[in-house]
Structures are given as C-alpha cells and as structure tokens.
Symmetry: C2
Subunit: 226 residues, 2 copies
DNA sequence: TCAAAAGTGTTTGTACTACACCCATGC
DNA sequence: GCATGGGTGTAGTACAAACACTTTTGA
C-alpha cells in the first residue's frame, strides 16, 4: 500500500449559494430535502466531489441537473470544516456562489428534493447543516465584490435599463443610492453601452436600454457607492 | 457499508504561505524537500489533514513543528484542486497564509526538509507543486487586506515606530507612500496609541514608540493609501 | 392635463494629494 | 555644526454627496 493512501480522508462536497434577481428582489435557491439528514428541511444545493472532478465540475453538474443551466457565473467562496457539520460523518464543504438570471432557468425538484424554491434573502426559512453560515458569507462576498467588479450583469437580462441596474444595486447592498450619482458613476466607468433603443410598453417615460460593456477593464475598477 | 463511504475521496492537505517582515523586507518561509516528489526543490510548508483535525489545527501543527510557533495570525485563502497538482495522486490543498514576526520564532529543518529559509518575496526560487499560484494569491490577499483591516501588527514587534509601520506598508504594497499623509491617516483612524516613549540608540532623532490600538473598531476601517 | 417615472446638471463640502520647514540626535 | 532621519502643518484640487427641474409616456 502506498504510504499516501494509509490516511483516511474526509468526504468532500460542494455547496452552492445560487443568487437570482427577480421582481426587484434578490433571492436564493433552496432545496427541501426528502432524505435524512435534515429531511423536510431547506438546504443549499450541493453534491459530493467525484475523484475525477474539479470543484467547478461538481458545481456545474449540480447546476445542470437541478437547474438545467449551463454557463453560470461561479466563484469559490470558502471551505467549511466543522467536525460535526454533517451528522453522517466528516464532510468538508467547499462553498461556492453562483449568479444566474432566473428567467433563463427552469428549476425542477430532482429525486433528492421535495421541492426547489426561490427565497427572498431577507426571508429565509431555517436551513439545515451549517448552511446559514455559508449563506451569510456568500451574501457578504457578493456585496463587497459588486462594488469593485462588474458582476451585476450576470443577474440581469442581456439588455436592461439603468433604473433596473440601480434597483439591483440597492437590493444587493440593502441601501438607497442616489439615482443621479449612480448614473454618473456607471457612465463614467464605461460600465454600460447605450443601445439607442428604449423599453416600450411601460406606464411612463420609456427608459433607455443598455448592454454591458464587455471590453471594460475589469481590473482597476471601483464603483464607490456612497 | 454506509452509502456514505462508498465514494473514494481525494486527499486533503493544507499549504501555508508564511509571511514575515525583517530587515525592511517582506519574506516568505520555504522548505527544501528531501523526499520525492520535488526532492531538493523549495515548497511551501504543508501537511495532510487528519480526520479529527480542522484546517486551523493542521496549520497549527505545521507551524508548531516547523517553527516552534503558537498563536499565529492565520487565514484561509482558497482551495486548489487541479487534478494533477500532486504527482502522488489526487490531493486538494486548502491554502492558508500566516503572518508572523520572525524574531519570535526559531525555524529548524525537520525530518522532512533539507533546509528551511526565508526568501524575499521579490526573489523567490522555483517552487514545487502549484505553489507559485498559491503564493501569488496569498500576496494579493495580503495586499488587499492590509488596507482595510489592521493586520500589519502581526508582523511587527509589540512596540514599534511610525516609520517602521510606514516602511512595512511600502514593502507589502510595493509602492512609495507619502510619509506625512500616511501618518495622518494612521492617526485619524486611531490605528495606534502613543506610548510616550522614544526609541533610543538610533543614529538620528529618536522616533516615538507606539503600540497597536486593540480597541480599534476593526470593521468599517479603511486606510485608503494613495 | 395629470401622475409617475426617467433623464440631466450644478453647487457644496470633504478628503486626499502634494509639498516645505523645523527638530533632535550622533558623529 | 552638519548630515540624517523624524515630526508637523497648509494650500490646492478632485471627487463624491446633496439636491431640483425638465421630459416623456399612459391613462
């Protein structure tokens, strides 16, 4: 036997905090488990790592299976290693968060879940395992990241209005941001590009439509919201 | 057999980027391996996780064994999961970084190493495994963290002068920082407390001695260096 | 013509930058 | 007394915050 294999190893899993933005609300996708442990309890989606997988592969597998979603913005967050975080034994979770546009996915409870649902981040149910801690850290990371890196687009449609982007930032940061200053900062940073079109079929004045500036210098970018 | 254990699991290790500051230089501690793989090559210190250990326990064990050091500032960085990052098999590394004051430790090559040495971060030798990537990320993290969180003290003596703190920041950030503006920012932030004493036995004017303000509000702290 | 939301510009204040002089100590 | 590094203060500038009016659309 290889010296290398005489060690017993913890199980390795990924857990994913999937953020979505819809109806002017930041939401998280949760699964209601239909198996012990934490049967009938809401948890983050996750899966065990297979030997030939990298973390992102495992995440993609989960997102594909449970959300029918490819090509998702995904970032590694932190690894959680409490000795008793999983009643089944020693499991280490490498937490990730994902940003998706709920419009582009059709969620379906798989064989492992009673139900899959979006929850407003401000109205979460009780969560199983240590998933509250993971969620809190994910939200913190999203909040700190969105002011120095253009990731907001991952949550919006390809084409969007400036008031929509503004509302997204207010939702995520949970503050009010001055409309006019926000607009100036976004425009100065060349964050977005005018399409020359306007959104039609709205109640009031038709807002301009923009798209993300993909040539944006992503490093050295700072939004500096109030 | 438990369904749970039918999966094969990768090995889990921690690797630690140990930063030290001495002779006006930011350094990293490296081990020269005396065993394959990467025999006679410099690498970061690390160890395999034992089943009853948390990451920090494993790190402490390494730091204690190889540095005779307890009570070190330690932070989890990122988990590295390349399939072939270790020629012995599938090993996932949970990278950490540590900040220590080299004065307080006596490094000694253990049975696993030919040698243990400090290297200027700007003059690293070739590193084994994927340790260059880990190092780069650690340095980035240190640089971004030091401007919004008071961790510089971990690298200095209990009592230090403002020019010393200033030089530390210049070393870590690899820039020049205006002396007078730096002083004002540090003082305004109530970052440090005057001891009323001066350093003696120096060539020129005796600089004031300070200590860290432990009551500092660590959240909501921003230094904003140029 | 009115209500509701979108677009635009100006003033004010604060905080960062840049910069120069005096002070203490050892040789 | 001179060289070297340490301590202090100020003026200018740039950017963020605060704020009000006009425009467009549907009802």
């Amino acid at each position: 036997m290889n010296l290398f294999q005489q060690y017993q190893n913890p199980s390795l899993a990924v857990d994913i905090v999937v953020f979505g933005y819809q109806q002017r609300t930041l939401s998280v996708l949760l699964l209601n488990r239909n198996e012990a442990p934490f049967k009938d309890t809401w948890t983050l989606p996750g899966a065990f790592l297979q030997m030939d997988e990298r973390f992102k592969d495992t995440c993609s597998r989960v997102l594909k299976t449970k959300l029918g979603m490819d090509d998702v913005y995904l970032e590694q967050l932190y690894s959680f290693d409490d000795l008793d975080r999983d009643p089944r034994g020693r499991v280490i979770a490498v937490a990730h968060y994902a940003l998706i546009n709920p419009k582009n996915v059709s969620i379906a409870a798989g064989s492992m879940a009673n139900d899959v649902k979006w929850f407003d981040v401000n109205q979460l149910p009780e969560l199983g395992f240590d998933h509250v801690a993971i969620f809190i850290q994910a939200l913190q990371r999203l909040r700190s990241k969105i002011v120095y890196f253009p990731i907001g687009f991952e949550l919006l449609d390809e084409i969007f209005t400036l008031p929509e982007l503004h509302d997204l930032y207010e939702c995520i940061l949970d503050t009010t941001i001055d409309r006019r200053n926000f607009r100036r900062k976004i425009m100065d940073a060349q964050y977005i590009i005018a399409t020359g079109k306007k959104r039609e079929g709205v109640q009031n004045r038709q807002p301009d439509l923009y798209k993300f500036n993909k040539k944006l210098q992503k490093d050295n970018f700072l939004l500096n919201i109030q």
